[in-house]
Amino acid sequence: MIRSKSFQSRLADGIIWAVVLLMTAACLFPMLNMIAISFSDKSAAAGNMVGLIPVQFNLDSYRMLIEDHQFWRSFLISVLRVVLGTALNLILVVLMAYPLSKSSREFRGRNFYMNFLIFMMLFSGGMVPLFMVVNKLHLIDTIWSLVLPGAVPVFNVILLMNFFKSVPASLEEAARIDGCSKLGILFRIFLPISLPSLATIALFSIVGHWNDYFSGLIYMNKAANYPLQTYIQQLNVDITKVTDASQLQNLAAVSNKTLNAAKIVVSTIPLLVIYPFLQKYFVTGMVIGSVKE
């Protein structure tokens, strides 16, 4: 223990602690509040009377959630999408970043492809043309419409390319002298040392795919095919107007804040589970990949 800390440094420590705790609380409170609401009485939730502790604790909303088979269907679709999408992203990013990390002397078309990618990153065709392409390829209402349009994330390609560039050339030379093929060099030399970068990219993909609701909204014509976030996004319905008495009985059900909270809580669990496993790579990966030698 160091006891001889000066007053200023202790003050500084205190302030830093206070700020960090405050920020942690600011991030944590909305989640705790959501969890508390999901366990509360429906009317208390409608009255905004729930803070961090459930009011009239009950499991009704979770009981209703278990019976909501569309929720679970969408949940599975999202899981499938994440697995498929992330695998596809990783494969394509690696296969694209490796050749691009070579100089244009070694890979003649490199500059063309690089400019092409950057052009694509800056200018896109827009939503309607994209939809028309996906439509004409008959991808509508299939899982592929969720993973194929974004299969090559250019930003990640550049990230990994820069990391590959920073790998010392002597490593590659050594491998070649020992008789390793080009693919062998990629898979036996480059991939193992770029695991942190790959973890980062994987995390980007997983989070991106899991949280994206918009493509589901556009490319899915059947509500049964919605991924989870699209399903949840659709729960937000604005009610101020009723044109017919027969719509009234739907009102109370739509305004069910506790059930919606339960859905959101369950939908965040997968990411909460994945984060700790990947997070240790996350910070180092970002730094290593983005700094060029």
């Binding site: 309607v128 059947k222 509500a223 319905v237 009723v242 044109t243």
Partner: protein, 551 residues
């Protein structure tokens, strides 16, 4: 090298254009004349072979289907298959609102629209202009049931006029029944607590709200009570919750409505001198802290009502169902009551009327069975409601709280007096003049709540209270109140509105809230009006006049 790529691209584009052109023609040739069968000329005639029609389905927030059912296979679709031998196939499904509208735009952009879909008025016009939808005049004549025609006629022709272009009926609108007047809903227990009488005029109301503010009858703590809650948009949304329309109408102001003055000139209600006066009045109440001090940022007014912070709001007859039902569950003593606030206190009020056509259902031009739409409307809005209301699977749906929005075609046609009629029917059933068994499913469940309420009116359950307060007290008050209707003269969207209306709306919203909250003085209204006029308002007024002249 680059040139050849360009040639290839141009070639591909040309070819695809040719291809789409061809397929368009083929479809047109398909529709050949043939002898019409009984099914094609009567409301309830059953097709011999199953007719499959594609639908653009606008879906409710959460349908709550029982296991195994979906939008193409549920109690309603099976009922329709059984009765008419028709089956829907959904081209797309999307939540009502932006998501659905986006799908419709995409479908129109790609030139492939479903056989039946719901559109708003702007899109309807676009479809008519591009000749993409079928003329329904003849099929409506033949295949709409008498009661459906009676229902449309109860709006004095205004509902169908909205869907008629050059004398041709191009769509069937959903009707929006009369839902005015809205009332002042106020905490009777608070009024009693502060020892005052029920309000009838604005002066009465001001005194009561002042007492709410000062005496804190709800024990919310000093300064926490919200005497009157009003929506951020202030007013102009017909029959909706939290509008200040009742107050503004006393000043002769009808915000956000297109009206004609005495000399026949069209003007926009939000820019009238009366609106200025009404906003000034509200600003005064805001200054006195009678209106929610957080009005500008309040998202969730319902919560302040449920948790007992709020003492009064303006809302329609169904407010006890939502949000007061939750308020009642939180506090059994919350005794919300409706009152009419009128200028002179005699209970006679004016209110603007609404567009009787709330949404439009159209049929694709080349579809072989355009009569399917009036047939569906007749089946779902007439036969199901008035004859087959005991149809077991749908009764079971209602009991399981399945959202009625899961119908393949959500068209709703009803009498303009639907709300008052409902009150009359339930009242008769309670008085024993009508056999409750003859009530339709919705009325019957409300009748049960009301009669249960009457058995022990001192301690009703929240649901019994909601049923009674909305149907027997709210709807009754609506039925008995003398309303002078002010009819807006235009509901559509003109050419320049497409570009400018969003901005003008924003300008209007901001001006209203700034004036009410005192951020700008009342005279700022004149600045707002001149900006409104110069940034497109004037030309839109001219366009509206032009379109009215054409009608």
């Amino acid at each position: 090298m680059r040139k050849s790529v360009a040639y290839v691209l141009v070639g591909i584009m040309g070819m695809s254009m040719l291809l789409t052109g061809c397929s368009g023609q083929k479809e047109a040739e398909k529709s050949v004349e043939h002898e019409k069968t009984e099914a094609e000329t009567t409301p309830y005639g059953k097709y011999e072979e199953t007719v499959v029609y594609t639908v653009g389905k606008n879906t409710p927030g959460s349908p709550r289907f029982p296991e195994g059912d979906d939008y193409e296979n549920n109690a309603y679709t099976r009922y329709m298959l059984e009765e008419l031998n028709i089956q829907n196939k959904n081209e797309f499904e999307a939540a009502t609102g932006d998501a659905y509208n986006q799908k419709v735009s995409m479908a129109i952009a790609t030139g492939k629209i479903p056989d039946v879909m719901m559109v708003d008025r702007t899109t309807l016009k676009q479809l008519v202009d591009n000749d993409m939808i079928a003329d329904l005049t003849e099929s409506y004549e033949q295949c709409a049931s008498d009661r459906i025609k009676e229902m449309y006629d109860s709006y004095g022709g205004r509902a169908l006029d909205m869907a008629t272009f050059d004398g041709k009926l191009m769509a069937l609108p959903s009707t929006a029944c009369d839902n005015v007047p809205t009332f002042l809903w106020i905490r009777q227990d608070w009024i009693d607590e502060v020892g005052m009488d029920a309000p009838a005029t604005l002066d009465d109301l001001e005194k009561i709200l002042t007492a709410f503010r000062d005496k804190d009858p709800g024990n919310n703590g000093a300064g926490k009570t919200i005497p009157l809650a009003i929506s951020r948009s202030i007013g102009g949304s017909y029959g909706a919750l939290f509008q200040a329309d009742n107050i503004m109408a006393i000043f002769g102001s009808y915000p956000r409505q297109w009206l004609k003055d005495e000399s026949g000139n069209v003007f926009y209600g939000s820019t009238s001198d009366e609106t200025k006066e009404a906003l000034g009045f509200l600003a005064d109440w805001y200054k006195k802290k009678l209106i929610d001090p957080q009005i500008a940022v309040r998202d969730d007014i319902e919560s302040t009502i449920v948790n007992g912070q709020c003492g009064a709001f303006f809302g329609p007859w169904w407010a006890p169902d939502y949000p007061l039902n939750d308020a009642r569950k939180v506090d059994e003593k919350a005794d919300w009551r409706p009152y009419i606030i009128s200028g002179k206190g005699d209970g006679a009020i004016t209110a603007y009327t609404q567009n009787p056509a709330s949404e439009y259902y159209v049929v694709r031009k080349e579809f072989e069975h355009p009569e399917i739409l009036p047939k569906i409307a007749s089946l779902l809005c007439d036969k199901l409601v008035y004859e087959d209301y005991n149809y077991e699977p749908i009764v079971a749906y209602n009991k399981a709280n399945v959202d009625s929005g899961v119908k393949p075609v959500g068209i709703l046609v009803n009498y303009s007096t639907a709300t008052s009629d409902m009150y009359e029917r339930i009242q008769k059933a309670i008085d024993g003049k009508l056999d409750p068994e003859e009530l339709n499913i919705d009325d019957y469940s409300q009748y049960l709540k009301c009669s249960d309420y009457l058995k022990h009116p001192d301690e009703p359950s929240p649901d019994e209270w909601s049923g009674y307060m909305s149907r027997m007290v709210g709807a009754k008050l609506m039925y008995e109140t003398e309303v002078t209707g002010v009819d807006p003269v235009y509901f559509g969207q003109t050419r320049s509105m497409k570009l400018k209306w969003a901005n003008l709306n924003k300008l209007e919203d901001e001006a209203f809230i700034k004036i009410v909250t005192g951020e700008e003085p009342v005279d700022y209204f004149d600045t707002f009006v001149s900006t409104w006029k110069s940034t497109g308002g004037d030309s839109i007024v001219a366009e509206v006049e032009e379109e009215i002249a054409q009608q």
